[in-house]
């Protein structure tokens, strides 16, 4: 074993070199964004993109934040993402509970319907989806986007939760049932606490997905007051297309929270996102 995975000095050096090369590929675009977001004018960005800013212009961030209405976009993104997390964790956990633990005539059919949603991406049905959202009068409203984005996360979440629930024993529930506990109590007192790790996974998955979603808001939102960050960034891009230093600042503002969250909980991110990806 050791002979395979242990490296001698020369090999170690070579491996380190390759690793650092890929780190450079990953980090240089981020680094260029940081350097150039701090430059006072676009001339400096074009003249020497890798040179240090002179003077360091931290006010670019404030300017981008104010001029581009980022506060509004930020608030909208937060509303959308948090609502999606609440809606998806609640709806998916109740559905998964019933499907996994209280089977009835037709529960397999419902499960297969959810399976259908895992198989076919909702984007392919954008025309009928648009029609339904419009006829419900939810076009250009945050509520409409929240419902659509939550629904798109439902199949994967139900899958993750059902498979998780198959793995936990029914003893506690049986005992509670003996004592006359009804489904509501079972769900709230026993199932929900037991499912916490899986629910944390789908909550993270849903939050990241909802925060990063570009396509669905693009279709359903028209007025700028409703834009989330992804659409706001597009608007910003059109507005400041010549002022690159501002563009970089805007991109970094958008990435900031994600980078921060990732630094704080990289392990959970890697585990959660790959699990979600596998299940997609």
């Amino acid at each position: 074993m050791d002979k395979i995975f242990k490296l001698n000095k020369r090999e170690q050096l070579l491996v380190q070199f390759i690793m650092l090369a890929w780190v450079a590929v990953v980090l240089i675009p981020f680094g260029a964004a940081v350097l150039n977001a701090l430059k006072p004018n676009v001339g400096q960005v074009f003249r020497e993109p890798f040179g240090l800013p002179d003077p360091w212009t931290w006010s670019n961030f404030a300017k981008a934040w104010v001029n581009a209405n980022f506060a509004q976009y930020f608030a909208n993104s937060t509303i959308i993402a948090v609502s999606c997390v609440v809606l998806v964790t609640f709806c998916a956990s109740t559905t998964a509970f019933v499907l996994a633990r209280m089977p009835f005539k037709g529960s397999t059919f419902i499960f297969i319907c959810f399976l259908f949603g895992v198989i076919i991406p909702i984007r392919l049905a954008l025309a009928p989806l648009f029609d339904i959202v419009r006829s419900l009068g939810l076009l250009d409203s945050l509520l409409g986007v929240i419902l659509v984005q939550s629904a798109s996360m439902m199949p994967v979440s139900v899958f993750i939760l059902v498979s998780f629930m198959k793995g936990i024993s029914t003893e506690l529930e049986e005992a509670a049932k003996m004592d006359g506990a009804l489904p509501f109590t079972l769900y709230w007192r026993i199932i929900f606490p037991l499912m916490r790790p899986a629910i944390a996974t789908i909550a993270l998955l849903t939050f990241v997905q909802a925060w990063n979603e570009y396509f669905l808001p693009l279709i359903f939102l028209q007025s700028e007051a409703n834009y989330p960050l992804t659409l706001g960034l597009q608007r910003f891009n059109q507005q400041f297309s010549i002022q690159w230093h501002m563009m970089f600042a805007g991109i970094l503002i958008m990435m900031g929270p994600t980078i921060l969250a990732f630094m704080l909980a990289s392990k959970q991110f890697i585990a959660g996102l790959t699990q979600g990806g596998v299940k997609e």
Partner: protein, 312 residues
């Protein structure tokens, strides 16, 4: 007797309450999913049979929409172009993932210094929003951007290369953007495949006098098959419906000269038209294209679903 009767009534009502509560628990999730996901998917079948610009009356036309896409030169050529470019897009991405991803995952599985840190750094772009990544890399490879500045300065290029401005390179550049963004995902999946190789197998191969490379080739690689297939299927399903990067950077017209047009942009353009003030919208045709695309990715998608099902 009366006692008994009461007991059975209580029992019955427990059952009834249980049933009511079960239904109440099931309703919100099923309602949410069916209205905003399942019913639209089913409506694809109906809408694909009508001629409808998205507003006004629908006119039933049978299989006309399919005939249009498959035979009318104007639509057929777009469809073939989008499909072929989608295949190229997919091939470049999957090539990057399998070659670079496997290489890096293999190196991460060795006892290298700082491999935990490397793992985190390699994964860093993955949780970022596609919109931010698209614009960041768009500026990065721009003719006046940092990459071209470096290339010309070091004499690697005589003149700035218009990566996204030329028909020859734009599609490949887009595929590389995608790969840059998602590489961490491929690395982690392959790495967990490598780490799951049974140690006794490796030890046996060492005892038989296999060299490191021989052990990797004959013991580790064969076990990675499922991970490779999984990555391929996930990427396949994704790139045939998701065209975010191209919509963000190039818009629905998928320029230059439609050289970055893939199924996702073709579908979007058919439904909502190329530019904001267009009247050329066709929901019926869009539904037909969506259905055809769904058919194309169906084998891969079913494979993925079955795999998940087996796991549950």
């Amino acid at each position: 007797m009366p006692d008994d009767k009461q007991a059975s009534r209580v029992k019955l009502s427990y059952r009834t309450i249980e049933k009511i509560q079960r239904t109440l628990l099931l309703t919100p999730g099923v309602l949410l999913y069916s209205v905003f996901n399942f019913i639209p998917l089913l409506m694809l079948f109906y809408l694909s049979l009508v001629d409808w610009p998205g507003i006004g009356p629908k006119e039933f036309v049978g299989l006309d929409n399919f005939a249009k896409v498959l035979t009318q030169p104007y639509y057929r050529d777009q469809m073939i172009n989008a499909l072929l470019q989608n295949v190229i897009f997919f091939t470049v991405i999957i090539g990057c993932f399998l070659i670079i991803g496997t290489g890096l995952a293999l190196l991460l599985s060795f006892r290298t210094y700082g491999r935990k840190t490397y793992q985190v750094l390699f994964f860093l772009p993955y949780p970022m929003a596609g919109a931010a990544v698209a614009y960041l890399l768009d500026l990065f490879v721009h003719p006046r951007g940092p990459l071209n500045a470096a290339l010309t300065q070091w004499g690697l290029a005589d003149a700035p290369i218009p990566f996204l401005g030329s028909e020859d390179t734009s599609l490949i550049t887009m595929a590389l953007f995608y790969s840059w963004h998602r590489m961490g995902f491929a690395i982690i999946l392959i790495l967990s495949g490598i780490l799951a190789v049974r140690t006794d197998l490796l030890e046996a191969s060492m005892l038989d006098g296999a060299s490191r490379w021989q052990s990797i080739r004959h013991v580790v690689f064969p076990v990675l098959g499922p991970a490779f297939i999984l990555i391929t299927v996930i990427v396949l399903v994704d790139v045939f419906n998701n065209a975010d990067y191209i919509l963000l950077i190039m818009g629905p017209e998928a320029g230059p000269l439609r050289s970055t047009d893939i199924m996702g942009t073709f579908l979007f353009r058919t439904a909502f038209g190329g530019s904001a003030d267009t009247t050329d919208t066709n929901f019926g045709l869009a539904a037909a294209i969506g259905l055809l695309t769904a058919l194309m990715i169906l084998p891969a998608a079913i494979f993925l679903a079955l795999r998940n099902l087996r796991k549950t």
